[in-house]
Symmetry: none
Subunit: 135 residues, 4 copies
């Protein structure tokens, strides 16, 4: 569980924790059912307040990414979102549009952009496969 914080980025610390844990899960570094580090030790490791980690975990829980059992710790949830399909696609499209606008702004042509997407996607799938050698 390696998390790197950037205190100068302006992005809230608890959100950095959220995003990095989600990213670890998406790339297979953490798998459904696996335990997350407890709040107190993690807060000490990251040199931040316990409440800040707790806030991150609470956010992850109500996004349905983890499940936390008071007194017993948190585990990665089985992945299935309770949101309507249309809402999920809409949320994803906003993220995609942001990337497309960014590409235009950085003068990366559409063809190269698409190829980049395919390449990054392949990287993620590779990582996921690597961490499930038992299948």
């Amino acid at each position: 569980m390696f998390i790197e914080l950037n205190f100068r980025s302006g992005k809230p610390v608890y959100l950095q924790v959220v995003d990095q844990i989600k990213s670890a899960i998406a790339s297979g570094g953490l798998r459904a059912g696996e335990s997350l580090p407890s709040i107190r030790p993690l807060s000490e490791q990251l040199r931040i307040n316990r409440n800040t980690v707790a806030k991150a975990y609470a956010e992850l829980e109500n996004q349905g990414v983890i499940e936390t059992m008071p007194g017993k710790g948190s585990v990665v949830a089985a992945n299935h979102s309770p949101l309507k399909k249309e809402v999920r696609v809409k949320m994803l499209c906003e993220e995609i549009d942001a990337a497309i606008v960014q590409a235009h702004h950085l003068q990366v042509p559409p063809a190269e952009f698409l190829s980049l997407v395919e390449q990054r996607l392949a990287t993620f799938q590779q990582k996921t496969a690597d961490s499930t050698p038992q299948s």
Copy 2:
């Protein structure tokens, strides 16, 4: 100059203005040398505080995207991309990775994700083409 604000997104209003103007320039809606609407009418059109628009313009000027001549309005600066290609690609990859992680957690499979990206990209290119028929 069509700008759509989302007051619910948590993203600062002035940054939404900044990003949408940058995106309008990137996508050809605004071209180098063209002038931007003045602060007062734009703030009335968007129904936001003049200070907010002023802050957005200041930020754009800071980034070298526009040039403001006090008393004479603002124009789009000559296009330049001082960043090295590799830096730009790295920035873009962060945006792409965010979308991929999001897709995983929203239960959108890779194939559908790719297809969505292609679709949004096509839509975006269509809009770009529409707004630059003179080229």
Copy 3:
């Protein structure tokens, strides 16, 4: 906006605030688009910490009950849940089952229970109608 807190009930204070606001909305006391009291004054009125009210508002926001615009306050959201219908019905059934078990336990016969439900439902609809005389 009358909220009554019971500090001895064991129910978290912030949840008491959440439930009473949701109840006020459901019964028509607060209508879509209406403003909620600001966090600071409400916390003073209730004699609790600002963070506790903030936590309640955050919870209401991510249940989609209110919308909050940083720097401008919170308003009651237009009501439409992004959850799948099946999930919504399941959540509701848990609440209903709790009431049914309670009725059995309190030795209230089914017929009387049903009649009670109809009566309370009518009361709520009445209150809603009263607060929308303009329709």
Copy 4:
């Protein structure tokens, strides 16, 4: 003695045990004078700590629902409802109101809500009848 635990609900485990035993008694699954499973086997069956079951039984004894004779096990107490009818109805109404508020926020219209209540009630009576065929 079938008890189903939900470790994700946030509701304390020992309270889930308490409520399900109370509900089993209320619905006829357990009758006055009948004995309950002892703590040790029940804790093994539910895969929870013995202390948790013990706490549940202590709570039940406190509420007068069961009677425990140290060294001899626990039996269901003779049924009694010391609360006045009006108090019981008031308690029940709070539970009902909670369900109605929930229905409003989950966008379930009153008609569908009533129909759901009738359906769940029928299911519950069915279960009750099944477990008391001897009456």
